[in-house]
Symmetry: C2
Subunit: 101 residues, 2 copies
C-alpha cells in the first residue's frame, strides 16, 4: 500500500507527459485537495532516482515522462493494483447501481 502516490503519478504519466503543476492539479481533481510542492517534488525526484521517470525543460516548465523501465514498471503496478482492489471495485459498482434504482 506504500507507494500509492508514486503509482498514481506513473499512471498519469502513462497517459501523457506532464509537468509538476499539472500532476498536482490532476491529483486535486482526484482527491479533492492539491498536494503541496513538498509532496509532489520529492516523489518525482524519487521516481527519477530509480530511473522510472525522466525530465525535460520546456520553457518555464519541466516536463516529466516515463522511461522505458518506468513504462514496464507502471504496467505491472497497474495490473497489481487492479487485481488487488478488484473486490473493493465490485463493491463500489454494487453501491452505485443501488443508488441508481
Amino acid at each position: 500500500m506504500r507507494g500509492m502516490l508514486s503509482f498514481l503519478i506513473m499512471w498519469f504519466l502513462s497517459k501523457r507527459p506532464m509537468y509538476g503543476e499539472e500532476i498536482a492539479l490532476e491529483l486535486e481533481k482526484m482527491k479533492g485537495n492539491k498536494p503541496t510542492p513538498g509532496t509532489i517534488y520529492p516523489a518525482l525526484k524519487h521516481l527519477q532516482n530509480n530511473g522510472l521517470v525522466t525530465s525535460q525543460k520546456d520553457g518555464r516548465n519541466i516536463i516529466y515522462s516515463l522511461t522505458e523501465k518506468g513504462t514496464t514498471t507502471s504496467k505491472k503496478a497497474f495490473e497489481y493494483f487492479c487485481n488487488m482492489f478488484e473486490p473493493v471495485f465490485k463493491d463500489c459498482i454494487k453501491a452505485k447501481n443501488l443508488k441508481k434504482i
Copy 2:
C-alpha cells in the same frame, strides 16, 4: 493515500467481525503476501484508540468489530475511495475486456 491499510481493515470488518489472523489472511489473499504481526496489530490498536474498532475475547482469539463511529467512518471512506479511484477502475475494466477478446 495514507491510511490504506486501516481503510482495508475497516472494509473487511464491515463485512463481518474478524480476529487478527483472519484479517492478516484476507490481506494475504488480496496482496499476495501476509502482513506480519508488527504491521497488523499496531494498525488495529490505532483504530481502537480512535474509537473505530472494539475487541472482544473469544477463546484463543480476539475478535475485532466496527463500532458505530467505525461504521459511519468506514462508509464515508469507502465512498471517498470509490470516487477517487474511479478513473483507474475504468482503466482496469478496459484492460480486462481487451484481454478477453
